[in-house]
């Protein structure tokens, strides 16, 4: 039997939106992943420390309050410095302030080193399917 895949989940920065976070924890657990949920108001360092400690396959970053651009910048570089440069990074939510097209937002986050970027309103099943694909599960 394959080892359970661990993912690290949290809402980055000064953001306290807890509802989606609780739903993601429930649905990813239900889908068979081991979920390390750091909850709301998680710093880049906390994400990385948790991922290193638990040998996680992916970090799933949520941001709902609009400051995501400032909060997420540099996360990939810090992962590299911590020896987990290849870890999967997903981001989802209301990722910038103001109305911009999702393709602009996606390009910006791709540039920052995120593997998958989700607009608001995507159901957890989509990210679960993507994660399975990216991990070859």
């Amino acid at each position: 039997m394959p080892r359970t895949t661990t993912i690290v989940l949290g809402v980055i920065g000064a953001d306290v939106h807890a509802v989606g976070n609780k739903i993601l924890e429930m649905t990813f657990s239900d889908a068979g992943f081991k979920v390390v949920n750091l909850g709301v108001m998680v710093s880049q360092e906390e994400f990385i420390n948790a991922a290193v400690e638990t040998d996680a396959a992916a970090i799933l970053v949520s941001s709902l309050y609009g400051h995501g651009e400032m909060d997420c910048r540099g996360l990939r570089e810090k992962c590299r410095e911590s020896g987990i440069g290849k870890i999967l990074l997903y981001a989802g939510g209301n990722l910038v302030v103001g109305k911009r097209t999702f393709s602009q937002v996606e390009a910006m986050y791709r540039e920052m080193g995120f593997d998958r970027v989700y607009p608001p309103g995507v159901m957890p099943d989509v990210a679960i399917a993507d994660l399975r694909k990216d991990l070859g599960l």
């Binding site: 953001d15 400051h67 608001p120």
Partner: protein
């Protein structure tokens, strides 16, 4: 010092104020005498307390948007659009998330990055960083009352600066701005910090300046049963009144079922008045606030207008003093000025069309009102019991015990043992009561309502049903039918 629900001594306030004002350089600008003189220069139409009183006498419902951006001039332009194009009766100044967590250095960086980028990089106005003189420019540039709206567990310095700047209305409370907005802040701390804010308002009141204090009704905005937000709002009102606050608004976030929402608004006004009178605060003015749907919105703007219009209809039919208006960009983040104006115009149109109509007093409405009144009575009695008569101590112990509980809250202080779900008609009920101190009779009412839905949908009510309910409105319905 042990937390208790008692008016702060002058010496304690003075000592705390010195510390708070030294917390950031702009604190030095606060001068109470100058502040009160400025407040005295404002006409009554620009003072929340007076406008709310007049509205209540005349049976007018006021509209207020949410808005705040990083740069001062842009913020003033934004408020001008909302006042002139949107005909907002009350204006907001929404504070950014860094300031809400007292991270003023990061807010400074947000201002600089916004200047460099030519667009707002913050989700609100960092008022502490701007200071008294700059913030006064906002008050001076507007013709209607401006309220500070935020989500700050420790809002002492924010209150000092914005009240000194001339804002006449300040939202928040030690529970409603902690439990939904923080992770690790104790209730002892937030309740004490809000006693400071309320005592500061009391100080202004003693100088003849009545600041309106609004309690944040919607809490987590996610399937909060009316009695929970009522109990929290009333407790916060009592704590504020003890510190000398003279004008209090209690709030409620739309649930979506017209009968339950009507019952909620009618009981909120009655219960707040009842408890304030019962504890000796007969001279406190009370008003009610209705928040249009606070949960997830559809992304499509036309559909979002549908949600906004239903909130407007509910407010008009149920009756309330002020409505906090949503925008068609709700699902996509911080809205543009145009979207915000559109939300106001849509709401006004529906409310004016329904001004002559109201919800009929039926048995169902009477039942809902009776249930809410009983639930609130049961919860507040248990809180007072746990506090051995002291409300503030009771709140701390009640959250620890789950006797007060809020669903989907980020705070570690909330047990999160209770779980809400909609019934067959979309009213919000309890799936699991957790440790809420409700009578058998009350629990049976909830259980029967949920069993009814389970039978109709041919499934056992569980967490999946709750998730379906949370996403339902963004998908075009109120009750999350099985997928």
């Amino acid at each position: 010092m042990a937390l208790e629900n008692r008016k702060w001594e002058q010496t304690l306030l003075e000592e705390s104020r010195r510390q708070v004002l030294a917390g950031w350089p702009t604190g030095r600008e606060v001068d109470l005498e100058d502040a009160m003189n400025y407040h005295r220069s404002l006409g009554q139409e620009r003072i929340s307390y007076h406008k709310l009183r007049r509205g209540q006498q005349e049976g007018v419902t006021f509209l207020q948007p949410r808005a705040g951006v990083a740069l001062l001039d842009e913020h003033i332009n934004l408020l001008n659009s909302l006042e002139h194009q949107g005909a907002a009766d009350f204006l907001p100044t929404t504070i950014d998330s860094y300031t809400r967590l007292n991270r003023y250095q990061e807010a400074d960086r947000g201002i600089e990055e916004s200047k460099a980028a030519g667009r707002s990089m913050l989700n609100g106005l960092p008022a502490v960083n701007y200071g008294v003189k700059n913030c006064r420019r906002i008050v001076a540039a507007t013709g209607v009352p401006v309220q500070i709206r935020h989500g700050t567990p420790d809002a002492r310095l924010l209150a000092e600066i914005t009240l000194a700047a001339g804002f006449t209305d300040f939202e928040g409370g030690g529970i409603s701005y902690n439990i939904p907005y923080a992770k690790n802040i104790s209730l002892q701390q937030s309740l004490s910090d809000w006693q400071y804010v309320d005592r500061l308002c009391g100080l202004y009141a003693e100088g003849g300046i009545i600041i309106n204090r609004e309690m944040f009704g919607p809490l987590t905005g996610t399937l909060v049963p009316p009695f929970i937000s009522h109990a929290v709002g009333i407790i916060e009102a009592l704590l504020a009144a003890e510190q000398g606050v003279r004008s209090i608004a209690v709030g409620y976030g739309q649930g979506g079922n017209l009968i339950q929402d009507t019952a909620a608004l009618r009981t909120l006004r009655r219960l707040a008045r009842h408890y304030l009178d019962r504890f000796g605060y007969q001279d406190v003015f009370v008003s009610t606030v209705f928040h249009q749907w606070m949960g997830g919105f559809p992304q499509d703007e036309a559909r979002a207008f549908g949600v906004i219009a239903w909130g407007a209809a509910t407010a008009a039919l149920a009756g309330v003093d002020k409505v906090i208006v949503k925008t068609p960009h709700e699902a996509l983040g911080v809205p543009t000025a145009e979207a915000n104006v559109a939300g106001l115009l849509c709401t006004r149109q529906v409310m004016r069309m329904l001004a002559e109509q109201n919800v009929q007093a039926t048995q169902r409405l009477a039942d809902e009102e009776q249930v809410i009144e009983r639930e609130v009575g049961e919860v507040i009695a248990a809180v007072l019991d746990l506090g051995e008569g002291d409300l503030a101590a009771g709140v701390v112990r009640s959250f620890a015990a789950g006797v007060l509980d809020v669903p989907f809250a980020p705070s570690r202080c909330a047990k999160g043992a209770m779980m809400p779900v909609r019934d067959l008609r979309g009213a919000i009920r309890l799936l699991h009561p957790g440790n809420l101190p409700l009578s058998r009779e009350t629990l049976d009412w909830h259980r029967l309502k949920i069993e009814e839905r389970g039978r109709e949908e041919r499934r056992e009510p569980d967490f999946r049903m709750v998730i379906d309910d949370i996403y339902a409105i963004s998908k075009g319905m109120l009750v999350g039918k099985p997928r």
